[in-house]
């Protein structure tokens, strides 16, 4: 099962991997959320949210990804944690509308306005490639805080304009009126290369940090639209020793994260 063999001793003797940096960046996206339902879609987001709950934000409410709120913080895909609540799909929609939720979703495409597509590639009437469908993205983005996770940053993902707007960026939300813009909150985009928000001019995508070993030029080259790049772009922080131990020995001892973000 294990793709790579992470350290099983102290966690400090092995090199920090890109996946570890991504997990810490995702955790940071949830650190100021307070007591809300953190809803990660996919493996690295689940790892990052659990890391945040064990470090920066113990108030986070987390689930098993199915129908249970978990009181503890079990390893990825473990069963049998203490249950603190019931969150079947129908109640997820209630929490979306209630607003105390931060979802981190995938994105097959993201554009410079922070719109996201998980519906289809090409013309909607007859797509070149049919994807999942819009799922909850339209509702998430006008109701609760929404972030995106992109494990393979490329110009095919970061495009000038998405083919189908599933998740609504701030510009589109404002154009749709107060009801759409009021709770629109595109918080972070975390990729395997860096961290972004929509704080550029006219709410466009802006580079916040590049991961260790990645240059600003790398990110610009791998982005299919004109990215807003501040004068000084810091390097994304490395996880602390405590975080590395939590990731390697507790949350993901099997190294499942390397399937999503391989080590160099």
């Amino acid at each position: 099962m294990s793709v790579s063999t992470p350290s099983t001793s102290s966690g400090t003797d092995a090199t920090v991997t890109r996946a570890d940096v991504c997990a810490a960046a995702i955790a940071d996206a949830f650190k100021d959320d307070g007591e809300i339902f953190a809803s990660p879609m996919g493996l690295l987001p689940m790892l990052g949210v659990r890391l945040a709950k064990l470090t920066s934000n113990p108030d986070l409410v987390i689930s098993d990804g199915e129908s249970l709120f978990l009181a503890g913080v079990p390893p990825l895909f473990a069963k049998g944690d203490v249950v603190e609540g019931w969150i079947p799909f129908r109640k997820v929609f209630d929490v979306v509308a209630y607003g105390k939720r931060h979802v981190m979703m995938g994105a097959t495409q993201v554009d410079r306005d922070g719109n996201q597509n998980i519906s289809a590639i090409g013309d909607f009437a007859q797509p070149k490639r049919q994807l999942l469908g819009s799922r909850g993205a339209p509702g998430n983005t006008v109701n609760n805080r929404t972030s995106y996770w992109v494990p393979r940053h490329s110009p095919r993902v970061f495009v000038e304009q998405v083919d189908v707007v599933s998740g609504v960026g701030p510009r589109r939300a404002k154009a749709a009126g107060a009801a759409a813009a009021r709770y629109n909150d595109i918080h972070r985009i975390v990729s395997n290369l860096g961290v972004f928000d929509v704080g550029g001019p006219d709410d466009t995508v802006r580079l916040l940090s590049v991961h260790p070993g990645v240059s600003v030029d790398d990110v610009v080259t791998q982005t299919g639209f004109e990215l807003v790049v501040p004068d000084d772009v810091p390097t994304s922080r490395e996880p602390t020793t405590e975080e590395l131990i939590l990731i390697r020995e507790m949350l993901d001892p099997k190294g499942l994260r390397f399937k999503e973000v391989p080590s160099d």
């Binding site: 249970l68 079947p88 799909f89």
Partner: protein, 293 residues
Amino acid sequence: MSRKPRDKRMRIDEVVGTLESGMTVGIGGWGPRRKPMALVRALYRSDLTDLTVVSWGGADVGLLARAGKIRKLVYAFVSLDSIPLEPNFQRARQSKSIAEIVELDEGMFQTGLRAAAHRLPFLPMRAGLGSDVLVNNPWIKTVTSPYDDREELVAVPSLELDVAFVHLNRADEHGNASYLGPDPYFDDLFCMAAKRAYVSVEQVTDTAGLTVDSPVQRLLLSRMMVEGVVETPNGAHFTTCTPDYERDEKFQKAYAAAAGGSDDDWQAFHDRFLAGDEASYQAAVRAFHEEQA
């Protein structure tokens, strides 16, 4: 003269025999979970056409699309979870073989069912605003709040169904039914949004049996919502029916490989598993697993 409510037990083919081409069929469950697959397989091999299918889509949508049964599809996603994209659905979309496509947000989908269940023409919500759901479905309108805020919200149209198919764990012969797994999904809403609802179950028990070892809160469906009850053990296969069984991942893989393969691959899968009735399907699945063992 019996003093009990009526006995609604039916056979699968009797249920499908009550349907007509052109009807709107809601299919309960969620993606690859607790789908009324025995009823879906019966639809697949029926001569019904031009159906409008309303579903949180999984292989139910894939199978019916592959059989050319769907004229109009209403969905928010179609997925097999452990296999994210549904090959038969992708194929249908990419070849434009479904005449009318209504892709909604998930919350809109629930709200549309709730509107139908409440016999309302629409219900307001935020979801959809600013997204291409409203661009690709220009018939969906917005409504302005009549109060001081004057907010413009989506008027989610009611998703009225002619028929609903759902699969639960237990029912009595009258149509009271319980789910024993972790999630009710939206099966009660499907039933209430439909003119007639049919529930298939793993086991029909007497009424007292429904609550003898499980709390009353698990009774999701009341008989007043249900037209017919079908006992179909393993009837949700290959989707989950927790705790009776989990998803048959091996079989799902075989399904997806056939669906994503050549026409011959699909024909072979069809001939082996889908050409006969439900009993022969279940026998073929048993043989499939004996081969794999």
